[in-house]
């Protein structure tokens, strides 16, 4: 893909926005921040495309832009995205009312998000891309510019790391 007009770019936006948002949200833990950063990703990608550079794979490129933006974001903040305190507050509130299946599920999902944020950023990316966004090893290799063998090894380590963190968390 070497040249692209606005209409084509907006079609790419339609195609990728949900996945990009979801990836960023799981990395940063806040919907508001994920919305802001997602918007920034597309704007930055457009600027890059209009410099006339030839890009081989749009998907790989846009996720690389995502990673850079997320790194920039974390450089500027220090607090955890989803705090354990906020999870316990929810639990206490729920126990005061009737603890429904939906509330339980919501707490469980919050916990998984929290645990993901506790492993290394590279592992977080791999977990989100492969197990949530269903990216293949080949696709991840194109984004990270690492070999498929290396990705497979890292995936296995990422899953092991997440299991450890979840077991420690209880």
């Amino acid at each position: 893909m070497s040249t692209i007009n606005e209409e084509q770019f907006l079609e790419l936006y339609d195609k990728y926005i949900t996945k990009i948002y979801r990836y960023i949200y799981f990395r940063v833990g806040s919907k508001q921040v994920a919305q802001d950063l997602s918007s920034e990703v597309f704007l930055r990608t457009w600027n890059y495309l209009k410099q006339g550079k030839d890009i081989g794979n749009f998907s790989a490129m846009v996720y690389q832009v995502c990673r850079n933006i997320i790194s920039d974001y974390f450089r500027n903040i220090s607090e955890l995205p989803i705090s354990l305190e906020s999870i316990s507050e929810k639990k206490i509130e729920a126990e005061g009312q009737e603890l429904t299946h939906l509330v339980e599920k919501s707490l469980e999902i919050d916990k998984i998000k929290q645990e993901i944020s506790r492993i290394k950023p590279e592992y977080q990316d791999l977990i989100i891309w492969h197990y949530i966004e269903d990216f293949s090893v080949r696709e991840i290799s194109e984004i990270t510019e690492k070999s498929e063998g290396s990705i497979r090894t890292s995936l296995s380590r990422a899953l092991a790391a997440l299991r450890r963190v979840m077991e420690e968390g209880g």
């Binding site: 040249t3 692209i4 007009n5 606005e6 209409e7 084509q8 770019f9 907006l10 936006y13 339609d14 926005i17 949900t18 948002y21 979801r22 949200y25 799981f26 919907k31 994920a34 919305q35 997602s38 918007s39 597309f42 704007l43 457009w46 600027n47 209009k50 599920k105 469980e108 999902i109 998984i112 998000k113 977990i127 197990y131 949530i132 966004e133 269903d134 899953l159 997440l162 299991r163 979840m166 077991e167």
Partner: protein, 389 residues
């Protein structure tokens, strides 16, 4: 916890979706920003064989057929069916048994046309045919459950054909087509696109839509494509104006652009009425639609100002931005508006008046008046996303 259990837990996170309201709003903001940041270059579209062969899929030909094999199949059909069948096929409509033969013959004609201007002209003629088919299908006296899918198919066919027409226009730039010929083709396309918008607007008003069909959405998409096709044709005319013997004057272009601005203004007004007359205006969809309509109104004011200064290019760019905003607002309103019945149960519908003025609207006017909903004031939160300078 086993690995399998962990992977199962992770898969629950796939359900996390962004707020659709935000997705549309963000898209709108992005469209405005990128227009302000860079000039757009028309995409040089390669002829998409897949688009053409998707029609042949109707007659259960294998998708792997190459053009030569397709010609053989079509000629075989001609030889075996006879002239009588071909004559019948010419008058067929969506849903008829011979309709796919009609489409196949059109595609064969396109493939044998080599000159870009003749191809663009032919695609434009086919677009007029699709429009005629839509009108006939809507006016046919049939039960609604039989008519509805045919209307949907006709709208889909029109939409696809308009996209093909739109794709042909940039090819005229690449070929050594004279200015006069380009303008002639562009004028015909613009005319057809304008007719298409009118007809679609009337179809929307008289056909019912419900949650079980996609008709309203298809009509909105086709309307959007018609508007973009007309604008693209006008862009070509603007590009050629000033060339010797182009056959188009600055006054003609200004008049055409003025009409398009007016049409967009009418759409904004109708959408605005739909938003303000709905009692559920606390809905985020309506609030965001109102904000976007506000911005598109401002864009139109700027477009008119540019036109008054004879800045045709500037007016056209701003009009395109306004149309994108209106399209986003339509989607937001469409997401929030409940379905309305607007025709008789026995399928009789009013005839389409091709000479009537455009009355584009999300809701038929009757249903708005009869709903008994009083207008509700709402607070418009002004967004400074848009940079129109």
């Amino acid at each position: 916890m086993t690995e399998k259990e962990l992977i199962e837990k992770l898969s629950q996170l796939k359900n996390e979706e962004p707020d659709q309201n935000w997705v549309l709003f963000c898209r709108q903001g992005l469209a405005s920003k990128i227009r302000g940041l860079a000039e757009s270059q028309p995409a040089v579209q390669k002829l998409n064989i897949a688009q053409i062969w998707s029609f042949l899929g109707h007659i259960t030909f294998n998708k792997a057929f190459r053009p030569v094999a397709a010609f053989l199949a079509i000629f075989g059909l001609v030889l075996s069916s006879g002239l009588f069948t071909l004559a019948k096929a010419k008058d067929s409509l969506p849903g008829d048994r011979l309709y796919s033969v009609k489409i196949a013959l059109e595609q064969a004609k396109i493939l044998t046309t080599t000159s870009p201007e003749k191809k663009a002209d032919l695609q434009s003629q086919i677009m007029a045919l699709r429009l005629e088919e839509l009108t006939k299908v809507v006016e046919k006296q049939e039960p609604m459950n039989v008519k509805q899918p045919k209307v949907e198919e006709a709208v889909g066919n029109l939409q696809r054909q308009m996209m093909l027409v739109k794709d042909e226009l940039p090819k005229l730039d690449n070929a050594n087509t004279g200015a006069k010929k380009k303008v002639e083709v562009a004028k015909r396309i613009d005319n057809n696109a304008s007719q298409a918008e009118q007809t679609l607007s009337q179809v929307r008003a008289i056909m019912p839509s419900s949650e079980t069909n996609n008709l309203a959405e298809r009509i909105a998409e086709a309307s959007d494509t018609a508007s973009k096709t007309g604008t693209k044709a006008l862009e070509m005319m603007v590009g050629e104006q000033g060339e010797a013997e182009s056959g188009i004057s600055q006054e003609e272009i200004i008049a055409n652009l003025g009409q398009k601005i007016q049409k967009t203004g009418e759409k904004i007004k109708t959408l605005g009425q739909a938003v303000s007359s709905n009692s559920a205006t606390s809905s985020q969809f309506y609030i965001n639609a109102a904000i976007i309509l506000d911005q598109s109104d401002e864009a139109l004011i700027q477009a008119r100002a540019s036109l008054d200064k004879n800045d045709v290019a500037g007016a056209l760019e701003t009009l395109k931005a306004a149309n994108e905003m209106v399209s986003s607002a339509e989607k937001l309103v469409g997401s929030a508006v409940p379905s309305e019945e607007s025709s008789d149960a026995d399928g009789s519908t009013k005839p389409i008046d091709s000479n009537a003025s455009s009355t584009s609207g999300i809701l038929p006017q009757d249903s708005v008046a009869d709903s008994g909903q009083s207008s509700t004031t709402f607070i418009i939160i002004y967004s400074s996303n848009l940079n129109l300078e």
